[in-house]
Symmetry: D2
Subunit: 282 residues, 4 copies
């Protein structure tokens, strides 16, 4: 598995180029980024030079976020496809093979209709991404408070997300598997073993406060090893099924972190060292 980092949990890390340099310095092999950041860097330096820099630093772009807005009306969705194609183009120039989006566990739209519409829209996104050799990860979101945040319950666990992936029906669609959502959807080690590594597109790691699981808040996460998520099980499970991709830290917090990026990167590096070593990795 490749240690990865997102901007959630490392404060102000500057431009993508700076972010990559810091990631490399603190032992990370991948960063997650926005498509717009990739385009800006390519536009400034040229794809060849960017690839060279990534190689020098030993850092890959783990995943980009999906820019198309599939959660609202058709007009908004169509508007985003243009940007999706540009993002996919930029990503493919840098050898990025992952793009991800999250799925909220409730919705103000009628649930069945929203599922039908979203199935079609995400298939369109998957089709476009596939044309650029990019896999598409769907992140189910487990925290209980979000299940009633909007009017109608939607989906929030592994089996349902797999059912949805089956409905979308595209080979390049799989899970963004996040430790926080695995934990808050009350899945365990055995549930990971039921997966095939083929079904996992990307992984997020983080930790949860020592409160009843139903009270864990989505935007109040801890660094790996600081909380109660059984991350040893999480990582051993992924290892057992043969997952060899990126595991990216994502720490959502109530307020933006103000500590210097270097400090937060160092903290993250230690967090990874702790949980990876506890799981017998590296």
């Amino acid at each position: 598995m490749i240690k990865g980092i997102t901007r959630a949990g490392i404060g102000q890390a500057g431009s993508l180029e700076d972010f990559v340099r810091l990631a490399s310095r603190y032992g990370f092999g991948a960063v997650d980024a926005g498509g717009g950041e990739l385009e800006a860097w390519i536009s400034a330096a040229g794809a060849e030079r960017v690839n060279e820099r990534l190689r020098e630093q030993g850092v890959q772009i783990g995943s980009i976020g999906l820019s198309a807005e599939w959660r609202h009306n058709e007009e908004k969705f169509r508007e985003g496809l243009h940007r999706l194609v540009k993002d996919a183009e930029a990503a493919s120039q840098l050898g990025v093979t992952r793009c991800c989006t999250y799925v909220l566990p409730s919705t103000d739209y009628p649930a069945a209709r929203f599922m039908a519409v979203a199935t079609r829209r995400l298939r369109t996104c998957a089709e476009i991404l596939e044309a650029y050799g990019i896999r598409f990860g769907l992140e189910f979101v487990g925290p209980h408070h979000l299940r009633t945040r909007w009017a109608n319950p939607f989906i929030w666990d592994i089996p349902t997300t797999l059912d949805w992936i089956g409905a979308i029906g595209k080979s390049n669609v799989g899970l963004l598997f996040d430790a926080y959502h695995w934990y808050t959807s009350e899945a365990g080690y055995e549930d990971i073993l039921k997966l095939d590594a083929r079904q996992i597109v990307h992984v997020h790691i983080n930790d949860a406060r020592d409160v009843p699981v139903a009270e864990a808040l989505d935007n109040d996460r801890l660094y790996p090893g600081e909380g109660v998520i059984p991350l040893t099980d999480f990582l051993r499970g992924l290892q057992a099924i043969g997952y060899t991709g990126v595991v990216s830290q994502e720490i959502l917090t109530p307020q933006p972190l103000t500590a210097p990026a270097e400090e937060l990167f160092a903290k993250s590096q230690q967090a990874f060292a702790k949980v990876f070593s506890a799981a017998g990795l590296e």
Copy 2:
């Protein structure tokens, strides 16, 4: 448009062969049947002889019902595929190009997950039917009392069913468009004009009691022209968009009808004559 008849509303009409003979005598050009009935007749008389009889009587098989059970668990669904293939085989031997299923407007399953699972299952059915040149019609069900009959609201109107058809994503899937459901989903003439005839796989006709639309019961239908559904608009709308397929009478009743089939066929014939002529057809 071709006048068609189902067994709902004509009492005991005997074997499929008898049913076809009666349909022909009372001016119908199509009957809806079960796949098992087709197989039994083919098995008894041979496909060639059955086709000869249908030609002699000037009656086609309008549509068969979907035998696969897609509404429950995976095991039940798989069990039904075997029968679906047999039905499709029999149907294709008799030149039948339509198969339909109805969709209840509420479900005890969580709605979003059920939509995802049902999308995949119905795609599988569509794929099998397509191999035999058969189109697949989904019948949304409008009566309000059924929307709360089970725990979670599902879907019950034209736009949502079209969204679902988009999610399924197969060319051969379209609407079974039933006058009762058009009426109880409170759609009108303009809503038919928004459709393309390509989107309609099959049509049901019937009528509703003069009660507030929200109180019309699914299994308490009248013969065309006896009630308050604006069937002239219904038929003119279908005509306007170029629908040329079968329009089959389907009269669900609280109790099985006990009058002789001949009497009910005659009543049906008159009902069709009345509403078709009011719509300026034939």
Copy 3:
């Protein structure tokens, strides 16, 4: 059916706005255009104003051409998707519901592999177009000389193109049905009757010189009624199956036509009048 016109056969007709004005003056209800032309006009006048003009002139945009290059390597294909999204956006702003591409009957690529790759690529295009409510027409190309123009035979007739459409597997894909290709693929009236209007996305009309069919050249076409194509059969067949869309004139010629556009429009108008009236239309 709606009389339509393309730029092939009317010389220099100026900007799209001029082209539309001339089309209207000479009795046409539709013009085919390039996506870039739509964007330029929208960009200059705003979509609302363009739609107003189209309404005033009683002219719709029948179809746009597919801008993505699906016939060469993967890189070129990807480059074109960006433009395809922009074209589709512009088209949807003007209510255009058709986009078409032609299929050459031979290829320098190995035929089976090219078919596999092209199937995937055209599915991606269809998926993008579908997001904008646009149907996608594939134009098989019949002239015999082109079947051996490149190293390996590809496809050039109705049944094979329908097989291909089945392989692509998207609901919004159908035929661009061109009279010249119908004639040179040696199909007849009966072959049109076997089609369902649902399968036809767009129609081209033109005529062929009185030479043996195997010698008819793709770029040496005549105006409707000037040659030997049985256009009465062609139009009656389309009428019989319920086709109600646009029939666009497309006259490919060895040299660009130098006569004034007004003269060629007048000639086209008379040509349509002649063949439509012979077929009992209008």
Copy 4:
């Protein structure tokens, strides 16, 4: 990787139950079988008892062959779907997750049209298999003499088969990767490294005579380690990309082998031991 065996290369091994017992005795963890064999055994002993036997012997069913005939006309194809559903049912009762078919490198049908038709048919098969949780492997066939055996060249190598899998567009379709075809299509170690283990559904192992590669005959194969195929590269490549599935021996011979099954099983066991150990496996 799991050592597997097919009936090709072990003579007369009796019933499937006998075959499994012998496989177990000679150190194999998987056998390939026909769907009919599974049905017969289940029908005689019941699925539960069969599963118990397989567990006792430590043998799984690696893959079943595709019974549906997709290479000829539509009628034949449809006839086979019935059997395919029965095979898939039986397979799923025994936990079998693989079904495979081979693809001849030339065809008497026009190549492009055959590709289009076969794409649709194999998608239907994939869809049915998917309903039973079964993956579908396509075996490209490399020997040069078969490329001109029928009138038109079709496909015979990895990249083209992957293109085809993309055209089919179903998540559960991948390669049956056979050492003989890898070798005769002149692919090497590097070509395996370009694959993702996700793309491989099943593997066959065997060896080739020391003749120029273009002269290696499809039905004249040797046991692993007896010939010139660099099986160490083959197995190391599979290992490197993380393939953990079954590797089944398949030895096609000009004449049926007459030696006792025990002898041929022993020979196969030694062959596996030799090549696995040379590759540093087990």
